[in-house]
């Protein structure tokens, strides 16, 4: 009798959990990605590994950074311009484009970071110096930069710090992510941010592979998170790039699976697409992710696969 009771209880418990999944999944629209093409130049598709990809949402252009060369692609995925072949600008580690179309380059020279503001041709106009940083952020060494609504969002992926600055480099606010993630100082250097994205509302979305988790830091400083380790659909193996689409879904790259996982705004798992392979549309070791205003996503990969472009479908 007792055993039956316990078994019944476990079955009900599992049913409750499963029901939560199925109900949430049913409520959300299924999302699929249809492969369109790979970003290409006049000599064929890009073959770079692990490039950085950034979408200029104002002009629907896409920027790809690889080995200090910034390539710009038009709305059809064709390369239209490139700059940065030499190291005159320093080592470029990230790119952002402001509202006016100026290109902002996060660069390093002699271990010192700087933001170089360039015109649309990549010609330097000025340098943005960091100013008024509080003592706890004096050692801040950013390697990710996103422009959003007049602010620069800068992240140190291994230093686990986040700074929001204005367009002339003034410190606005900053976060030490270790305590926010309930980690200790000894963990600094053992945990890194992989995916980094800022949505239209100023919410910062980050993935942390060794925690098997994605975090959302809202503009008011509140932190929420989602994700569980595992290989089943909707679980995280090794998470990487993250973006939000026009429906406010979260799209998360899983490197190990070679897939894109979709979660709705309430973090319920919706769908997963992409498989590991070398056919068109397959993914090999995907990493970075960008999205444009028409819900096309851009996925960087290894295996000399360049950048694959998918269109999100919602039916």
């Amino acid at each position: 009798m007792q055993i039956c009771l316990i078994l019944r209880a476990i079955l009900i418990a599992l049913a409750i959990t499963a029901a939560g999944v199925s109900v949430s999944s049913a409520a959300a629209q299924p999302v699929r990605g249809s492969f369109l093409y790979a970003l290409a130049g006049f000599t064929g598709p890009l073959r770079e590994n692990f490039s950085r990809v950034v979408s200029d949402r104002e002009r629907n252009e896409v920027y790809v950074l690889y080995q200090n060369i910034v390539r710009i692609f038009n709305d059809s995925g064709m390369e239209i311009y490139r700059f940065g072949e030499d190291l005159d600008l320093g080592q470029i580690v990230d790119v952002a484009i402001d509202r006016d179309g100026d290109i902002l380059l996060l660069t390093y020279r002699d271990s010192q970071s700087a933001i170089v503001r360039c015109n649309y041709r990549g010609e330097p106009k000025s340098t943005i110096e960091f100013k008024n940083f509080p003592a706890e952020f004096m050692d801040f060494t950013p390697n990710r930069m996103i422009y959003r609504q007049g602010s620069l969002y800068l992240a140190s992926i291994m230093g686990m710090k986040l700074v929001i600055a204005d367009l002339v480099g003034n410190f606005e606010r900053g976060y030490d992510l270790l305590p926010l993630f309930d980690l200790e100082e000894k963990d600094r250097g053992n945990v890194e941010i992989s995916g980094f994205y800022v949505d239209a509302d100023g919410n910062v979305v980050m993935t942390v592979p060794v925690l098997f988790r994605a975090y959302v830091l809202s503009s008011d400083g509140a932190l929420t998170s989602f994700g569980k380790p595992g290989g089943a659909p909707g679980r995280f193996n090794i998470v990487a790039g993250v973006v939000r689409d026009s429906k406010k879904n979260y799209l998360v790259i899983d490197r190990l699976k070679g897939s894109v996982l979709v979660f709705d705004r309430n973090f319920n798992f919706v769908s997963q697409f992409g498989v590991r392979g070398y056919k068109p549309g397959d993914l090999v070791y995907p990493n970075d992710l960008a999205i444009d205003t028409t819900d096309r996503i851009y996925v960087t990969q290894m295996g000399r696969r360049g950048v694959s472009v998918y269109k999100l479908n919602y039916n």
Binding site: L5, I6, A9, I10, I12, A13, L14, I16, T17, G20, V21, S24, E48, N49, F50, S51, R52, Q67, N68, L87, Q91, V93, Y108, S111, S113, N143, I157, M158, L183, K186, G189, N190, S194, V210, L211, F212, R213, T224, F226, G227, K228, P229, G231, A232, N237, I238, R255, L256, K257, G258, N266, F267, N268, V275, R276, Y285, D288, M302, G303, R304
Partner: protein
């Protein structure tokens, strides 16, 4: 699903359910209801708890399974549900990351994207950055153009997804028969951490047979702040390296590799050195360990540089006195250089932990019974120089006219620059200022042999 918000909702839901039984029941029915509710609550919490957090990841042994294996991914392309094309690709899923701007903890290879021409690999781990395998240099000396192929710079692990390919020049391990096509991270590292160190300092392998028992690993044993296991416990062997009869790769590792690293080990040595304290006792020596794949490099019958042998007083005195070319004014208390490390003649972990520092608080040189090892001259992964050597052996000068050789710094002596910029040469020496060396510094064979 395991999201915070949903978890909270589920827990709240179950709390409410218990209240429902409060209202409708009395006596046994009430108690049964409470019990039932508690069991349900416990079951749900248990289900949710399966997805708990972890961040040390390997922790000296079996890591989070989902970090490497994907149980239900569509179209797994590799073996062992690794999904990736091979084991090394799975390792590099975490151990290589694009976007680094400098040494970054557990990253052991710089991504191609971060290494344009003229920029050296960024990682500074004691084992070296596999990115050097991608750095080929072309240069012309006295009218003859040569290429220093990147694959000469280290162990060419096969990681198909990340474009690391087998060595095309050495189809087997130099001095051995181990196939280069089989070489991967897993050739040396046991990803599940088979070797473990016990409370008494002895080493055992995980029992792989039914009925066997092994002390559980409580944490990594690789670092100067790693815990000392209590009775009944164990810590992982150094860097999850194979040992103690492990023959799963087609070769047999007889001993274990003993060492302790500072807890922060991937760092520039521009101001202070990163000292890994290597140990040696019995057959547990680094030469013996490397000889698993390179036996003829170790055989005493061959005409090769000795390894695993005591330095003796002559070399000890030379090492401790040698500061740089032309300068033999050094002392034993400050003579250590991480460009020429040695193995201490001990397996005592407490001693090695005290010596593994990254702040120059322990720079003592060797005693006469300390030992030369393969790693005295070579890096385990890769280096900026051919044969994974710690310094440039392709010419007589490491430093020329007080400058690191480079096509930009010393254009008149391309044989020393070998196609690199001066900054790349400095990076290969882990960013040491050139003043650490003589103005015309000769190769570091002289650290032990003091002929310059």
């Amino acid at each position: 699903m395991g999201v915070n918000r949903t978890e909270s909702e589920v827990i709240a839901h179950n709390t409410g359910r218990q209240g429902f039984y409060d209202v409708i029941s009395e006596g046994r029915l009430f108690m049964r209801g409470v019990k039932f509710g508690l069991v349900v609550l416990a079951a749900v919490l248990f289900t949710l708890a399966l997805g708990g957090l972890a961040y040390a990841f390997h922790s000296g042994g079996v890591a989070e399974c989902g970090g490497c294996h994907s149980m239900h991914s569509p179209k797994a392309g590799g073996s062992f549900l690794l999904v990736g094309g091979d084991a090394s690709s799975a390792c590099l899923t975490c151990h290589m990351h694009a976007g680094d701007t400098g040494p970054s903890s557990y990253h052991i290879a710089t991504a191609d994207a971060d290494m344009p021409a003229g920029i050296a690999p960024l990682q500074r781990t004691p084992g070296g950055d596999f990115g050097w395998l991608r750095k080929s240099y072309t240069f012309t000396v006295r009218g003859t153009t040569s290429t220093e192929d990147g694959q000469t710079h280290g162990h060419n692990i096969v990681a198909v997804d990340t474009s690391f390919a087998a060595d095309t020049a050495n189809t087997t391990a130099p001095g051995g028969t181990f196939s280069s096509a089989q070489l991967g991270c897993q050739s040396c590292h046991e990803p599940h951490g088979g070797v473990r160190r016990l409370a008494d300092g002895s080493y055992v392998r995980q029992s792989a047979t039914a009925g066997g028992t092994t002390n559980p690993i409580i944490a990594s044993g690789s670092y100067n702040n790693s815990p000392i296991p209590l009775a009944g416990q164990a810590v992982g062997g150094y860097r999850l390296l194979r040992g103690l009869g492990d023959n799963t790769q087609g070769v047999t590792f007889t001993g274990v590799a003993i060492a302790v690293a500072p807890s922060t080990y991937n760092r520039t040595e521009a101001t202070t050195q990163t000292r890994v304290a290597y140990g040696a006792t019995g057959i547990n020596t680094w030469g013996n360990w490397c000889a698993t794949c390179h036996p003829d490099m170790h055989s005493s019958g061959n005409y090769v540089h000795p390894v695993d042998q005591s330095l003796g007083s002559t070399v000890q005195i030379a090492y401790n006195a040698y500061v740089k070319t032309g300068d033999l004014t050094g002392t034993a208390a400050t003579s250590f250089t991480s460009l020429v490390p040695f193995a201490e003649n001990t397996g005592d972990i407490a001693t090695l932990q005290a010596h593994a520092q990254n702040n120059d608080t322990y720079l003592n040189g060797p005693g006469s019974s300390d030992k030369v090892m393969c790693l005295s001259c070579h890096r385990a992964h890769a280096s900026g120089w051919p044969e994974a050597l710690r310094w440039n052996m392709e010419g007589e000068f490491m430093v020329y006219n007080s400058l690191y050789p480079g096509t930009d710094t010393t254009p008149t002596v391309p044989q020393f620059a070998r196609g690199r910029l001066g900054a790349e040469t400095q990076a290969a020496y882990y960013d040491r200022p050139v003043t650490k060396f003589g103005s015309y510094q000769r190769v570091l064979c002289n650290k032990c042999h003091a002929k310059d």
